[in-house]
Amino acid sequence: MSNTNHNIESPKEKQNRHKAMEAIKLLNTLREDFKEPIESMEYFYDLFERVHCKHESLHDDKTKIGTMCIQIPSEIIYALDGVPIRLCNGFYTDDEIGSDLMPQKACPLIKATVGHFASGNFTDKPDIVFSPTTCDQKTKAGTTIESFGYKLIDVDFPRTKESEASREYWRRSVKQFAVELSKFQGKKLTKTNLRNAIKKIGYAQSLYHKLSEFRKNDIIPILGMDVFLVTNAFFFDKIDNWIEATEKLLSELEIRAKEKITVTGKASPRIIYTGSPPIFPNYKIPQIIEESDGIIVADETCSSNRMFNDMVAVDEWNIYDMMDSISDKYLKACTCPIFTKNEDRIRRVVQLAREYKADGVIYQAFAGCTVYEMEQRSVLEAMEKEGIPILYLESDYSPSQGGQLSTRVEAFIESLKTRRRNKK
């Protein structure tokens, strides 16, 4: 035997170490590699380090309600005294585990999510999982996850959003979801609780909106990567802690804006990021952009902007009206490419580009995410018509692809700089 008496890691310990190594690498990059770091971001760096490197649980005292997509209404989960944990996963370690269980060409996000369930390696293990039937791969992943012994309930989701029928259909699904969850929790959905939950999430959204305002300025006080970290923390953090930390961040940004402290270079092109979601720690493309002197000023992704952009708009604060308003927010406002027609998404990207004075758009699709891959055509055409430069990239979670991608991003950013200079 080997001369060392040290124990060999169990498979779980090994996975944890691999994930910790992925996490710390990104966190150290954020902490150290950019100029003018923001002090109050440390709460978020530390949060991710605690969860992914030190494996601390955050919600021992609550029922953890796993969600497989953005469409499961958190308002209802909070109203029924649960904690929503969004399980969309960005770890390459889990992607590799999932690769053995999924088709080779499947999307890395789904592979990583399935891999995470297969490993069973959770700091906050979900007590029940709700899986909306959004894209094909997520829909089918549900049964795979169930086969590992998790309690999983499908939530029927329509793939058109224009028709009144689909609206009705989804409203019924949301009601059914509330019934299932209320049964599981042994609690009744009350008017007061639902109203409080809507207000609390609405307040969190308003903080995100304030955060976004700073990014419209000519002098940008925060990195796009940091904003992704803040919004990704909303997947699993205690909501009150998140609110407090984001309030602190906002007051620091206020001061930075006054003192004209910026994280960018003198002529950093302003980028809108759209497409497959950056989920911690897969910030590959955002990192390449911001290390190549670009700055992400806004995004159109389900791990960030799409979670916060649209609020639940209630007319009458009775339970039926609240439920319908919640349903509408998760269907009508959603710009996911799974929908048949998706002009909303193009409109959103164009609108963001104008509001945030963007120099260009970077569209990333995960190799294997068919709908994002398909929709790039219409988005590229629309941007061309609007005269907004756009770069389309395909990537996955593997750590080795950096060189090829960064050359393309760098060239794009250089072209944006030249374009801006020629305009002046």
Partner: protein, 267 residues
């Protein structure tokens, strides 16, 4: 009594083993390859012979192996280091049991060799000639961290935080990554640990190409680094066997081969 020498001329070190007719290891000697492979090999052989109280005439058969084997013209035979490694490993691990896979990390390359039940080489995989994941890589790291390469193992086990991964596969780029980590005041322990894991991951990929089986033997100079041994064990998920003198397995195998060839030629 007749004696047999195996000379393994590697990129970094020359390793010589001498065995008797019964294939027992009598002694070995290791010296740096330096710039004159042939001269140093000859000097090392002479020194070893006199240390063992033998004469040059007692050595009846010499087998050369390793990267520089063809430079040693006096050899009666020369064989590839893969064959020699397989023979040596089986002999060195006799008390451990059946060897199915050999991991060898040398100064400039690394290999995984898969053996059948009779100890024949059935498959092997080598990295491209490149310093990534080799002994040279560890030398570069130790130099940068201003420590002796023998200290790496000790630092590895002192790491209390998350190992810091070094993602570059190129030794030159990895060096600049390490400089970056040092510049940000990260603990040397966590850096060393991360370096070991990055080598271990590459090695495990190599082993996967020939198939991971029970009975893994690890040799070559870097096997002296128990931090690296620990990292490979963790990545591969099983105990691996490291012989007492991991540097000389291949020369030992060459010497054993000499016994067989001599007997075959003279009977």
């Amino acid at each position: 009594m007749k004696y047999f020498a195996g000379i393994d001329i590697g990129s970094t070190a020359i390793k010589i083993s001498i065995v008797d007719e019964n294939k027992n290891l009598l002694g070995f000697k290791i010296s740096a390859s330096g710039s004159m492979f042939y001269k140093y090999a000859q000097e090392t052989l002479d020194a070893l012979i006199s240390e063992l109280g033998l004469n040059n005439n007692d050595i009846v058969y010499i087998v050369a192996t390793g990267y520089g084997r063809k430079l040693y013209k006096e050899a009666d035979e020369n064989i590839s280091e893969i064959t020699a490694n397989a023979i040596g490993a089986r002999a060195a691990a006799s008390e451990f049991g059946e060897i199915k896979t050999i991991i060898n990390i040398g100064g400039q390359d690394s290999k995984a060799i898969s053996l059948d039940n009779e100890g024949n080489v059935v498959n092997f995989a080598m990295n491209d000639r490149c310093a990534a994941g080799t002994g040279k890589f560890l030398d570069v790291v130790a130099l940068k961290l201003e420590m002796d390469v023998n200290m790496l193992g000790e630092y590895h086990f002192r790491s209390k935080g998350t190992p810091l991964s070094v993602s570059s596969t190129c030794a030159v780029f990895a060096e600049s990554e390490i400089i970056g980590l040092l510049g940000n005041d990260h603990g040397i322990e966590d850096i060393v640990c991360g370096v070991h894991y990055s080598i271990a991951k590459r090695i495990v990929k190599l082993v996967k190409r020939v198939g991971i089986k029970e009975g893994i033997y690890f040799d070559g100079g870097p096997a002296l680094n128990d931090g690296l041994v620990n990292a490979i064990e963790n990545e591969i998920g099983q105990r691996i066997f490291v012989p007492k003198h991991p540097q000389i397995t291949t020369s030992f195998g060459a010497a054993i081969m000499g016994v067989d060839s001599y007997n075959y030629e003279n009977n």
